[in-house]
């Protein structure tokens, strides 16, 4: 078999789809895992900064072992490597009296959904003409909701299989919390569908490139670098961006953005909604009985869910991989890489925001949390849909 036949085989449509999908999944998954491990480190560093501490700063390269004069700490970046090694080498202790099969299964069920969600996130425009979305599903957003609703299983089963009171209460709390906030989460994005007219995340991102990010009330039309030089054109583009419909729609979109953001916090069990693992009440919540890599899977699952949630927020409301003045991947592979970079920068900023919130706000009480979900967000999200429909009906041209 010579190279020409192999190349020909690789360009058969379904073979091409297969190997590009594998490659994209591989790259995106690995990038995500890297971002997740950096986030774990950033969580400790940012919390230290907020609380006026130094944080982890001792783990680095031990140059003195090899005859160097001074150890190199690199701001404690070695912690990112040290943590996984510690977790991998610890004894995987399984307490007596647990349901072995489900005890083993639960951490995997927590880790899988966030990874499956990555499949529909558009993490870049195109690279060499290949779309940088693993699967352009036409019901992408619904797919995200469907898969994230499955993540309840892992946590509930972990609480139940541990055969201990605290994990059980943690598991029950978590599942009821996730079920409650799923409703608000789902309803809050309906205005986005009504405005963009699509459930496909790629089409929603494309809409935002044409019409501006959904969280912004104003977007200059056809703004390019060249317009900056000509004042008359600049004024023209700035005025062309003004529209009553856009400004009126900004109100429901901002509401849905805030509800979606808060619901993502609740879905990923982050503070101020981390009741399932409230230390003062429940020791460690559903993962109290877990050790070693099984515990690490819960931990990674939480951060991967944060990543997936941030990716969804960025794609739905913050323009996805697009950035004003930066062309898309059809202008060359360099811009394709830049687009991927833009997506990851935006997601990282969202992750930083989540960490910031965690170390700023105190925890909710459980009944307050449920009340907020059912009596606050749920009716507001429902009313928001009607508001959007009214605005669209009255300003329709």
């Amino acid at each position: 078999m010579d190279i020409a036949t192999i190349l020909h085989f690789l360009t058969i449509p379904w073979v091409f789809l297969l190997w590009t999908s594998f490659l994209k999944s591989f790259i995106f998954l690995n990038l995500t895992i890297i971002v997740v491990s950096v986030t774990v480190f950033a969580e400790r560093k940012v919390s230290a900064f907020i609380q006026d501490r130094s944080g982890p700063n001792r783990v680095g390269i031990p140059l003195t072992l090899f005859g160097g004069k001074k150890d190199s700490f690199f701001w404690g970046l070695g912690q990112m490597v040290a943590d996984p090694i510690k977790l991998l080498t610890k004894e995987n202790f399984v307490p007596a009296g647990v349901n072995k099969f489900y005890f083993w299964l639960a951490p995997k069920l927590v880790m899988i959904p966030p990874i499956l969600i990555l499949a529909v996130l558009p993490f870049g425009s195109t690279l060499f003409g290949v779309s940088m979305t693993i699967s352009e599903l036409n019901v992408g957003v619904l797919y995200i909701f469907a898969i994230s609703s499955l993540s309840v299983y892992g946590i509930t089963l972990a609480g139940w299989a541990s055969n201990s009171k605290f994990p059980f209460i943690g598991g029950i709390r978590s599942s009821s919390q996730m079920i409650s906030y799923e409703l608000a989460l789902g309803l809050s994005v309906v205005p986005v569908f009504m405005i963009c007219g699509s459930l496909n995340l790629n089409e929603i991102v494309d809409w935002q490139i044409k019409n501006g990010w959904l969280v912004s009330p104003y977007w200059p039309k056809g703004f390019e670098l060249s317009t900056l030089i000509h004042p008359s054109e600049l004024v023209h583009t700035l005025i062309a961006g003004l529209s009553i419909q856009r400004f009126a729609l900004w109100i429901p979109l901002l509401i849905s953005f805030i509800i979606f953001l808060v619901a993502i916090f609740a879905e990923t069990n982050r503070l101020p909604f981390d009741l399932p693992e409230a230390e003062q009440e429940l020791v460690g919540g559903y993962h109290t009985e877990y050790a070693s890599m099984n515990f690490a899977l819960f931990f990674l699952g939480e951060y991967a869910a944060m990543f997936a949630g941030s990716g969804a927020i960025v794609s739905l409301f913050l323009g996805g991989w697009s950035c004003p003045l930066i062309p898309d991947g059809s202008h060359g592979w360099f811009w394709g890489l830049v687009n991927i970079g833009v997506f990851f920068v935006k997601v990282s900023l969202m992750l930083l925001f989540m960490i910031w919130v965690r170390w700023t706000l105190p925890r909710f009480r459980y009944d307050q949390l449920m009340k907020l979900g059912w009596l606050g967000f749920f009716p507001i999200a429902l009313a928001n849909i009607f508001l959007t429909a009214l605005i669209l009906a009255f300003t329709h041209r």
């Binding site: 379904w14 349901n99 489900y102 599903l137 036409n138 019901v139 619904l142 797919y143 909701f145 469907a146 898969i147 609703s149 499955l150 309840v152 299983y153 509930t156 089963l157 139940w160 059980f168 598991g171 029950i172 599942s175 009821s176 079920i179 799923e182 459930l199």
Partner: protein, 167 residues
């Protein structure tokens, strides 16, 4: 490709369906049922009905089965003791299954049309959300709304019934 996917998921669906009946731990039964729903969703997706497939996961696997699991855990049901098979009930069961299967084979064999696989859709990526939305809100708007009202009344009924016991 799709045919092999069909056989794979069909086998999976039936295997998990059987394990719902055969397993004795209630939590295992609930989990098997959830897996059964998920494989069913995969079957819908191989038939180009992505929206229905995703809805299947969202509603049945994600919401209904979680509530089932919840209740099973809260009730703290013990593992059922495996009972010895009763001759009469086994015979009855086998007869019912045999009758059903023979009816099914008769229907399938009655028309050669049933033996063929469904042709793939003409459109490469049909916008099924739009099509289902149009069908529901244009052709069947009244029945759809009626079902909505029915469900609402059921919800209100549940609230009223649970309130009465409190007083």
């Amino acid at each position: 490709m799709l045919l092999s996917a069909f056989w794979f998921f069909a086998t999976l669906t039936i295997a998990f369906g059987i394990s719902v009946i055969l397993l004795r731990n209630p939590v295992s039964c609930a989990m098997s049922l959830a897996m059964c729903f998920i494989s069913l969703a995969a079957l819908f997706i191989t038939l180009d009905a992505t929206l229905i497939g995703i809805m299947q996961i969202l509603v049945y696997a994600g919401a209904v089965m979680v509530l089932f699991l919840f209740i099973i855990m809260l009730l703290d049901l013990r593992t059922e003791k495996s009972r010895r098979l009763n001759f009469g009930t086994t015979l009855g069961g086998v007869l019912v299954i045999a009758a059903f299967l023979s009816m099914l084979t008769q229907i399938v064999l009655s028309n050669p049309q049933f033996a063929q696989t469904i042709p793939t859709l003409a459109l490469p990526t049909p916008d099924n959300v739009k099509m289902i939305g149009m069908t529901l809100f244009h052709s069947y708007a009244l029945p759809f709304e009626a079902i909505g009202v029915l469900l609402l009344s059921a919800t209100v009924g549940v609230i009223v019934l649970s309130r009465r016991t409190l007083r």
